[in-house]
Symmetry: C2
Subunit: 245 residues, 2 copies
């Protein structure tokens, strides 16, 4: 194994995928900077998780960017007039869900480019994952490739030959594989938050809770979070506890 | 000439290029929406111009997005500790100037994508221009092409086959050609603001003033703005007045 590369930025939402991505970044880069966004979500529990994860992993800096959310009103994650869908696992299709936030990852990555230009980072890591979230267009491999070209052509670093790599290390992993990877890296999965609702306990019924629980089941570990309700196919008693950190 | 296309978004900074681009959009699209950004510039005169231009052109809607400017502190347009350079026209090189705002057009276009997804626009027009501003990486044709791929792959509209076109109609025009185009289209050039300083009169000494004055001289028209000082090579008395609107 060669020397660690210098500086990387990780997009840190506070969920499982970005937490594991941050642990990967921490392993591969000498200094890791994290970037989170508040964009009018109905709650800020994810941001709280992102803060805790950044602290736990001793990241060099955690920046939280507040986005003007007026353009995101079509999303049920943002609009107070729209219900977050509750449905069965089988009903989560490859269609674009109502939780879709227009061009979200495009905007996140654009800010990350500005940040990379500012601090001289050589990589931006994003926890995009095309397997379980294939309904979101900006989580797919061809989007990541397209954005790489934007980084190469549209920034000072890019045109001066200091390439900013866009890395999506989880892009073709299942949620179960991501969780196993996280456990292997001793990633602080117990600090993550996935539920689209921001209540005391995770709801256990939104798409995000269901995909997370499915992932833990697939990985063979029990989710350390507390849930309001659990789907019948998830039985904590059949699963291992997370290793103690 | 065919039917006008339906809806377009124009990025409207309030300068000459975006004003002429808005006039082009107005000619080609039935409904034009404009998008401006406040990103911590030392003044907001450009935004005031953008408002006036939107009103003059009867644009359907003008949205102003306030960006978190903390990532732009390297730019002399934003940082109060950095002087905006004053120099001669010949000194404006192809190097990236201190006024460079990291990934600015990437961020602007990303928001425009979200907006286009929201209102169902088929085009985004940007006044990027590679001739006089070749120092800015995100004003060049290969960047615009790269961003087109991002639009095609990273948005709901794009993957559902309702392409969002990224158009940069001025990309290979000189400032003089842009001004002539603006006069031909009866674009409200008298409402524009270009000066990097936000004083009562334009300074006449920053890069932006110099390139603007050079453009008016090249076009053969007198700039309708008032200047604090004028470079010796610009002689208003040799130039025509703008046509009356």
């Amino acid at each position: 194994m060669g020397e660690k590369e210098d500086r990387a930025i990780v997009l840190l939402s506070g969920g499982i995928d970005s937490c594991v991505t941050a642990s990967i970044a921490k392993k591969e880069y000498r200094e890791v900077f994290s970037l989170s966004f508040f964009y009018g979500q109905k709650h800020s529990r994810e941001i709280e998780s992102a803060k805790k994860i950044s602290k736990w992993l001793h990241l060099r800096e955690h920046r939280i960017i507040e986005l003007d959310a007026s353009l995101f009103s079509s999303s049920s994650l943002v609009s107070r007039n729209k219900e977050i869908p509750k449905r069965e696992l089988e009903e989560i299709s490859r269609d674009i869900p109502s939780t879709y936030v227009p061009a979200r990852n495009v905007i996140f990555l654009s800010y990350a480019l500005a940040y990379a230009d500012l601090i001289g980072a050589s990589s931006i890591l994003i926890g995009a994952n095309a397997v379980d979230y294939s309904g979101y267009p900006d989580c797919r491999p061809d989007f990541i490739e397209a954005f790489q070209r934007v980084a190469d052509t549209g920034t000072k670093s890019g045109i001066e030959g200091r390439k900013i790599k866009i890395e999506a290390p989880l892009i073709s992993m299942t949620k179960g594989q991501i969780i196993r990877k996280g456990i292997e890296l001793r990633s602080p999965l117990h600090l993550t938050w996935s539920c689209y609702e921001g209540k005391e306990k995770a709801c256990g019924r939104c798409d995000s809770c269901l995909l997370r629980l499915k992932g833990f089941k697939e990985a063979g570990y029990a989710d350390p979070l507390e849930y309001e309700t659990l789907p019948p196919w998830y039985r904590k008693e059949d699963l291992m506890g997370l290793p103690v950190f």
